[in-house]
């Protein structure tokens, strides 16, 4: 298998390497393959961008947006611990 064959990775592989890169370092061949693939594939370029956007959302979470009424839970906890405030 020649160098070009090694460099030509599929979209499936490219998306896999994109996710793996977040957690463990890629080796030189993998990095080169991903770089090369992203030069020629708009779908995967979009995937990388979207994956990064999702990552940021998952990291930051808009916790403020969740609507809760914590009163009942507060009472339950105080009751459970025997501290009635």
């Amino acid at each position: 298998m020649g160098l070009i064959d090694t460099m030509m990775i599929s979209c499936r592989k490219a998306s896999e390497l994109t996710e793996r890169k977040e957690l463990v370092p890629l080796n030189a061949v993998e990095r080169a393959g991903l770089w090369f693939h992203l030069r020629i594939c708009d779908g995967c370029k979009a995937y990388v961008k979207q994956s990064a956007a999702l990552d940021r959302w998952l990291d930051e979470r808009r916790d403020g947006n969740a609507v809760v009424d914590s009163g009942a839970l507060e009472d339950r906890i105080l009751n459970e611990t025997g501290t009635q405030g």
Partner: protein, 199 residues
């Protein structure tokens, strides 16, 4: 009821914590666990732990930081259990768990229906608007519990791969395979929600 010997000053302090921080802890948990009752139970368990170990709280950190640290422990326990039970129920390589089959053609290239599209204003990097926020919540809830546990653990443990592997008892290969699958499924779900009208 949970018994622990506490001075009345401690009782007063504890009830202040409960009144002050329950809402934030509850929002945090409900955003990270599908079932709201389960999320609330985790918050309650965290407070009970805090009550029992209150003597050890030395005030080096704020009560809020301390309570959040306890809650994160409880969440990690929850994900660990959910992940293990998921394996028992579905088997390790359950069919339907791996979305690759529908998203890619056999040669490994994107299926035309699932190829990510560039320049979609709803998916812009800075523009995490309400619509996307809602889609993300729905799609996280739609993930199989086991898959969600892996992805939640990744962020809960700040992407520390060794810690994630240890917590879920996963091999390295298995860990990023799980993350990859979850991410593929999540992305596809969100694009679907954003581009097709929902019933």
């Amino acid at each position: 009821m949970t018994t622990a010997t506490r001075t009345s000053a401690q009782e007063t302090l504890f009830s202040q914590w409960v009144r002050e921080h329950t809402g934030d802890l509850q929002r945090f948990a409900r955003n990270r666990v599908k079932d709201p009752d389960t999320a609330d139970d985790l918050v309650q368990t965290a407070f009970v732990s805090a009550w029992k170990t209150m003597d050890r709280f030395e005030g080096n950190s704020s009560p809020r930081t301390w309570l959040f640290a306890i809650l994160k422990h409880k969440l990690a326990d929850h994900y660990r259990k959910a992940y293990r039970e998921g394996i028992k129920v579905s088997g390790m390589e359950a069919v339907g768990d791996d979305p690759s089959g529908t998203l890619f053609v056999p040669s490994g290239h994107w299926h035309t229906d699932h190829r990510p599209q560039l320049v979609q204003d709803v998916f812009q990097e800075e523009d995490l608007n309400e619509k996307l926020d809602r889609a993300l919540r729905k799609c996280m809830d739609a993930l199989p519990e086991r898959m969600r546990s892996v992805i939640e653990m990744k962020y809960l443990l700040s992407k520390d791969s060794a810690a994630i592997r240890e917590a879920l008892e996963l091999s390295e290969t298995n860990m990023w395979q799980q993350v990859h699958r979850a991410k593929l499924k999540l992305r596809a779900c969100i694009e679907e929600r954003l581009t097709k009208p929902q019933p």
